[in-house]
Subunit: 408 residues, 2 copies
């Protein structure tokens, strides 16, 4: 149907988002432009263009600039031509990452300049109301008061665990189910939610270690183990929002496999999460108080600690090799606390990867440390809200905070 | 740069292909349309639309139809309005699949109707010139003489093994390197080449067992083991044309792993290819002349033969579980001679998949037998040439038979 409301993810909605990105991209590249100039550069019809521009002005992403008073701004004796410009003030976007044991926030303006980020650790069992208090307090410290909450069009939020597609039942009963409503009430704006590790992958591929790469595998080894995929230049979600679950690939298939939070046994997460690594180190005789102390022991050359990371790195490298053979990424990015061990982890990873990836691909995959770290989830949430990245051009559309409309 | 030649895979070239698909899709859906009607339905500017239509008429994909003589076809006293239509005759496309031990050909018209397919087995060491003779003979049997080679704009060809991107060095020195030139000389048209298993995946997702699905994992177990991925509605190539290499995922990591053609050891292909399965069955005491005889033994309930497929299916299911956790497909399609064993293979595959996929995804992945079989590679090659499928909207553009132009 060409009349009526386009479906949120139908071909017409995608075409419309493509047109919006085109117009925003032209304004970012050329600076202020008249509607006529935009029409010429975009190839869009007058009707389509005016419609797109009106929606962008309504949303606050685009502002109408005062006409220039010099000769170039005038056409004969007619009215001066109104120019359109990206709105540097009103289009600020905010991202919040509710991780397992910390809250991180970040904000950017429409020009994609980060105006601030902040984070704070908390106990794993802190109630949601208090986590939101913490987020609000952190937001207050951003941008030296330049952040105007009232001008936000939406907030992007990262949470732990799978997140259902818009209109779909949640794929796992998460304790964050009521969160969007709580946040919308507190901040007075619509909220977009996605898995925080996938958002961190988006951030690494947008601004971080894999910026500009089209095929990226991001693996985060923190208190959970997960990841995200950029596939052919697009952030990949999977048929049910379940892609990038590298932490639940079986690495100990036998009866010795330890039980995992996902309900399975022998998953990579039971071997390579920060908690599992810390347990293994203590079993191996390392007398360390916490994970940072273990990292310090590794850096100090402690043989038992290095042995533990060697075994963990081998398991990680084998999983990466299998997924590389399947997916064919050009870049692998390793993030999270466990990756902070540096070479003690990366060397065995590289060795096992090289031994099990098909030989022809051996020198074609580039293994890198993450560049963004803790603020990745919050920054990725911002990218999700802006929805301007080409990485999101095929990502399912979300109507922030509204029920899905379906005219099928 | 908005002036000048768009890069083959730049955003403008993609936008142009998007506009072409839009116009072709509208003609397929609505039947003959005037330029004015196309303009209204597409939302494209007059200039852009006329430019796109002219190129499509030049290529033979679109024809100008005689104006209707009834009242609906006239507008007042002016000239009757010329209608545009898909050209059912001139736009025929041909696909050839050079498999390890067979040649398959298929042809369709612009309306995507298959006008014929044919195939013939040959010895594995048949020289290329003779394989091409065979292909030419098979093409002669198609469409009862309706196929006009002179009207083809290009031929799509599937070959075994990795294929480099346009302008990139071949990723593995294949013996098919000189093939495009030989074919172009023989048939007088440009030739597009890709991996034949990936093309079979494209065919299954376009016309076969996964038609309309957006996230598909296709695994083909034949004399080689490989596959292809549809990821978020796009055929996925991987950073170096090396995605879908499920056959080279390690399943026997220890010193017992058998050497594989890829240079590695213990790959799935050394366990699950038709040759490996036949060897294992003979070692298990099955007295069978060839692979079809083994399938017959399985169907007859031979316990040793069923035991072999049970072990193979378990290894396949474990690999599928790992790749499902990573990629999150909604549909898995199993093809190739080994899948012809039916339930004797599929039941252990499903059991191992279910045991190792993360529990939350267990009932979300649909395992299906391939619907297309031998002609899949040839049909996929046609889809590649037509380049009209939305599955190819993000696939790297190839300029058939020409050197890559680069104005960067």
């Amino acid at each position: 149907m060409l009349c009526g409301m386009p479906q949120p993810d139908g071909p017409l909605a995608r075409l419309r988002r493509g047109h919006e990105s085109l117009v925003l991209g032209l304004l970012r590249k050329h600076g202020p432009l008249s509607r006529a100039e935009l029409g010429r550069l975009s190839g869009l019809s007058r009707t389509t263009l005016y419609d797109i521009v009106a929606a962008l002005v309504d949303s606050g992403a685009v502002a109408t600039a005062a006409p220039a008073t010099d000769a170039a701004g005038k056409r004969g004796r007619g009215r001066p031509v109104e120019k359109l410009t990206l709105n540097p003030g009103a289009g600020q976007a905010l991202g919040i990452d509710f991780a397992r044991r910390a809250v991180h926030v970040a904000a950017v303006n429409v020009a994609h300049e980060v105006i601030g980020s902040a984070g704070e650790a908390h106990a794993a069992d802190l109630p949601w109301e208090e986590r939101i208090d913490l987020a609000e307090r952190l937001v207050g410290t951003l941008g030296q008061g330049a952040l105007r909450l009232s001008s936000l069009s939406a907030i992007g939020v990262g949470v732990v665990g799978p997140v259902g597609a818009p209109g779909e039942e949640a794929t796992r009963a998460g304790d964050s189910d009521g969160l969007p409503g709580l946040l919308a009430k507190r901040f007075g704006v619509p909220v977009l939610v996605d898995n925080n590790t996938r958002l961190a992958a988006l951030a690494e591929a947008t601004w971080g270690a894999a910026a500009g790469d089209e095929d990226v595998l991001y693996l985060k080894m923190s208190y959970g183990v997960g990841g995200g995929l950029i596939v052919g230049g697009s952030l990949h979600r999977g048929a049910y929002g379940l892609s990038g679950e590298f932490g639940h690939i079986t690495v100990e298939p036998g009866p010795d496999g330890r039980p995992c939070e996902c309900g399975g046994t022998g998953c990579l997460e039971t071997v390579a999460s920060a908690g599992a690594v810390l347990d293994a180190a203590r079993e191996a005789g390392c007398d360390v108080a916490d994970f940072p102390a273990l990292i310090a022991a590794v850096e100090g050359g402690d043989a038992a600690a290095r042995g533990v990371f060697d075994r963990v790195g081998t398991a990680v490298g084998e999983v990466l090799a299998a997924t590389c053979n399947a997916i064919g990424p050009g870049v692998i990015v390793l993030g999270g606390e466990v990756a902070a061990a540096g070479a003690a982890l990366l060397e065995p990873v590289e060795r096992a990867l090289s031994a099990h990836i098909q030989p022809i691909a051996r020198h074609r995959v580039d293994l890198r440390r993450a560049a963004i770290d803790e603020s990745g989830g919050a920054l990725g949430a911002i990218a999700l809200v802006l929805h301007e990245s080409p990485l999101l051009s095929r990502y399912p559309a979300q109507e922030p905070g509204s029920e899905e409309e379906d005219d099928a």
